[in-house]
């Protein structure tokens, strides 16, 4: 049934919502070779088709879902990238989710969907293999995520998979997400709000075409080798048991557990919200995404939803000072109900809490709530308010940066944002490479763009050999981190392009040397076995570098430069007051110098140099730069 070589279906859906027009286009050969797929494909489409000055909520913005060549085929091959201009940052944005929808789209016969324009009234897209139709969604509009998913399954049967938006997106909450089968989230960057602005409620998908593999023996051999790695590695066992919540106590013990809107990085009640406690007292079953051998997820028993990830346990736990796990679980449940990013909403509420504690906002500004740190019920009340834009929620539904500008200068020191986007958990002062990754990420501060886990586990001599300085082996070290983050961004960037999970493929090994020695060996062997394409490991890394540079180019065309890569003063000037990382601040300038050098970007501006762009074959960027006077 496959109509292309292994790994790709060869077809992209282009849906013009304004005209109600559905087109099937071939996936261009050049995109495959140079950008691989997934996030790479989306970056190319954004660059070619969406002018950088486009407003996020305008009809000219496009929403792109893309699945890489390994989706549906490789272990942990479940990831989808959703890309658009973000209403939160106003800049290039994307978000990534797992679950079962991405593979289903592939089985239906598509490598991606490009949504253009805006429907006149609410619609949803039905994809049943070759049959693709836009349907009236007036009965679904206004429904929460769970109900939407349920109503769709009632109509089409439980074997269909969905991506849907909820009331938060419909109310244009700027950090509203898109939920996959009601439980996996395209959380960050407000992709849900973009989907809502197009009057698109949901995508219902059913597919049963075969996916071909070119070299099946090599495929099986590689997968079995990967499986034996997983079985023999102690940290993967930990990942299967505790999932990412296992990080809570690790972060606490490193002095990196963001607490009370980043006032500090150790939390009195860390054990209460720890992965160990969640696993022992609140989970009933292992869970995971399509074809995942690591199985980092689980079903929590209170709402039979997915166990919150460590980001959620922090954002709706320690960051708001909330140590009552029941409150955290309830808050997480409501976040999914409305379809909203837990990181941004948690950080937004903690911002409001700190303003309340500092006396900048009074109870009367907060609809009568006594919003001190630790007020779990108040936090839940705020989730309802923000997602429905009721009362004071309206102000905060636009995110910390916009709310802060409304409230005034007194609130600026407490706005924990980079490029208008809320900083994710893990304290950058305690884990500096990760902090650098927040600054350099091409989609607003984000931990998964770089994931420089090397700083947690390298030995000093390895750090010196690999990244040029022993300090790179210390989490609070700054030197060598620029090189490390560059390497990590390319390393994990390829996962986004191939469509495999970062946890499944890059994070299971407890020993960095082993991972670095293996490098991309397994994924690139799989890529070759599946697609039959002779791209070497080196060529794949260069493709990842090319994608980051193209995204960077897009950002710089939107006016971003080094001056925007700054943390709030709290991170760079206020030493951590206590705990294992006490006294630490983030030395952003030093690290950015090294990073820009490693990238081949101008150190003063962060704009990619002509020779770098030429080396990567990005002549299109050079032309645009010259036209804009940036080169």
């Amino acid at each position: 049934m496959a109509i292309y070589r292994g790994g790709y279906t060869g077809t992209i859906l282009r849906i013009n919502l304004t005209r109600g027009e559905i087109r099937k286009e071939p996936l261009p050969e050049a995109i495959i070779r140079d950008y691989i797929g997934g996030r790479g494909f989306a970056a190319k489409v954004m660059f070619d088709e969406v002018p950088p000055e486009t407003d996020a909520f305008s009809e000219q913005n496009k929403l792109i879902f893309s699945v890489g060549p390994l989706v549906g085929i490789a272990p942990s091959g479940s990831r989808v990238t959703a890309s658009a201009i973000s209403p939160l940052s106003g800049l290039y944005g994307d978000s990534n989710a797992g679950g079962f929808w991405g593979p289903e789209l592939k089985f239906a016969g598509y490598d991606g969907i490009i949504f253009e324009g805006k429907a006149l009234s609410p619609v949803y897209l039905l994809i049943d293999n070759d049959r693709v139709e836009l349907k009236d969604a007036s009965n679904l509009w206004g429904q929460d995520i769970y109900t939407t998913h349920h109503l769709i399954q009632e109509e089409y049967g439980s074997s269909v998979h969905t991506v849907a938006i909820g009331p938060a997106a419909e109310n244009k909450v700027r950090f509203a997400g898109i939920l996959v089968d009601a439980h996996h989230a395209f959380g960050r960057m407000g992709m849900g709000a973009v989907m809502a602005s197009k009057n698109l409620k949901c995508i219902v998908t059913h597919g049963q075409h075969d996916l071909e593999i070119v070299d099946q023996e090599a495929y099986k051999e590689t997968v079995l080798e990967y499986l034996s790695e997983i079985r023999s590695d102690p940290s993967s066992k930990r990942a299967s048991t505790l999932g990412t919540p296992g990080l809570i106590m690790m972060l606490q013990n490193w002095g990196c557990l963001q607490t009370n809107n980043q006032r500090t990085a150790v939390f009195e009640y860390a054990e209460e919200i720890s992965g160990e406690r969640v696993r022992a007292e609140y989970t009933v079953k292992d869970a995971g995404c399509y074809g995942c051998m690591l199985r980092c997820s689980a079903v929590e028993k209170r709402y039979l939803g997915k166990r919150p990830e460590y980001e959620t346990l922090q954002a709706l736990g320690s960051i708001c000072g909330v140590g009552d796990l029941e409150d955290v679980l309830e808050a997480s449940h409501w976040a999914d109900h409305y379809g909203v990013d837990t990181i941004s909403i948690g950080k937004t509420i903690s911002f409001a809490m700190e303003l309340y504690e500092e006396g900048i906002l009074k109870s009367s500004d907060l609809d009568g709530l006594e919003l001190s740190f630790g007020n779990g019920k108040g936090m839940i009340a705020m989730i309802h308010k923000i997602c429905t834009r009721e009362g004071c929620g309206n102000l905060f539904a636009d995110g910390v940066a916009r709310a802060s500008r409304q409230i005034g200068e007194a609130s600026y020191p407490y706005a924990m944002v980079v490029k208008n986007v809320e900083i994710p958990s893990t304290e950058p002062r305690g884990e500096k490479g990760r902090g650098l990754g927040y600054l350099t990420s091409t989609r607003g501060p984000d931990h998964l763009r770089s994931l420089p886990f090397a700083e947690r586990i390298l030995k000093p001599e390895e750090a010196k050999r690999l990244f040029g300085h022993e300090d790179a082996s210390r989490m609070t070290g700054a030197k060598g981190k620029g090189n490390m983050v560059k390497w990590s961004e390319d390393f994990v960037g390829l996962s986004d392009m191939l469509g495999i999970c970062k946890l499944g493929w890059t994070y299971y090994s407890s020993t960095m040397p082993r991972l670095i020695n293996k490098g991309l060996t397994l994924p690139s062997r799989l890529f070759q076995a599946i697609t039959g394409m002779e791209l070497t490991e080196k060529e794949l890394s260069v493709a990842a570098e090319r994608v980051t540079n193209l995204e960077r180019a897009y950002l710089t065309l939107q006016g971003i430069s080094r001056k925007d890569e700054v943390f709030p003063d709290r991170i760079t000037k206020e030493p951590l007051p206590e705990g294992p990382s006490k006294g630490s601040v983030h030395e952003s300038d030093l690290m950015l110098d090294e990073y820009f050098k490693a990238r081949g970007w101008a150190v003063e501006t962060g704009i990619p140099k002509e020779e770098t762009l030429r080396r990567l074959g990005l002549e299109v960027v050079i032309a645009k730069y010259k036209a804009k006077g940036l080169l």
């Binding site: 049934m1 496959a2 549906g72 085929i73 272990p75 089985f107 439980s158 074997s159 049963q208 075409h209 075969d210 996916l211 071909e212 593999i213 099946q216 495929y219 099986k220 997968v223 079995l224 499986l227 997983i230 079985r231 299967s240 009933v284 079953k285 292992d286 869970a287 995971g288 995404c289 399509y290 074809g291 995942c292 051998m293 690591l294 199985r295 997820s297 079903v299 039979l304």
Partner: protein, 173 residues
């Protein structure tokens, strides 16, 4: 008595790699919807469970087949379906008391586990080892495990068993 058994359903995450491996073996392409093993997801109850053929001694699927499309493979001793003979009536699917026969929607034929001719791929690729191939070695290992459990209960330890044995015979110089 060879079959694939569900040894530890409590650690099944529902990832469906058994289905991926099965379809690859039989179709030489990936398509979980045409797999012979089927992960049933009872979502509201938070249960996932892989359903697979029990390789019955008196197979209800074979008994009900009006055209004798089921045949015993001489080499492996496994009951298989001759697709050329099958008329696609689907009675075998209904007759199976375990719901373990799946259906190929495109070719309109039943999909029944054939143990991959002695090396079931669903077992091989199941990361948490939910599925086990209950072949001779498995039964031998299982019996040994049961016996050791009995010894443990009855004697406290193997050492005690051996001690009791030693006590049965005394020799004095």
């Amino acid at each position: 008595m060879k079959r694939v058994i569900v040894k530890s359903a409590e650690v099944c995450s529902g990832c469906g790699y058994c289905e991926i491996a099965c379809s690859l073996e039989h179709l030489h392409a990936i398509n979980p919807k045409k797999s012979r093993v089927k992960v049933v997801d009872v979502h509201e109850q938070a249960v996932t469970y892989p359903l697979i053929c029990r390789q019955c001694e008196k197979p209800a699927c074979q008994a009900i087949c009006p055209v004798q499309a089921f045949y015993l493979d001489e080499k492996t001793g496994v009951l298989k379906v001759n697709f050329d003979q099958c008329i696609g009536c689907g009675y075998c699917v209904e007759a199976c008391p375990f719901g373990a026969i799946q259906w190929d929607d495109e070719r309109n034929v039943p999909l029944k586990c054939d143990l991959c001719d002695g090396d079931p791929k669903c077992v091989k690729f199941c990361a948490p080892q939910v599925l086990q191939f209950a072949n001779e070695e498995y039964h031998k290992a299982r019996r040994e495990e049961i016996v050791m459990g009995i010894i443990e209960k009855k004697y406290g330890s193997v050492e005690n068993l051996h001690r009791q044995y030693s006590a049965l015979y005394q020799w004095k110089k």
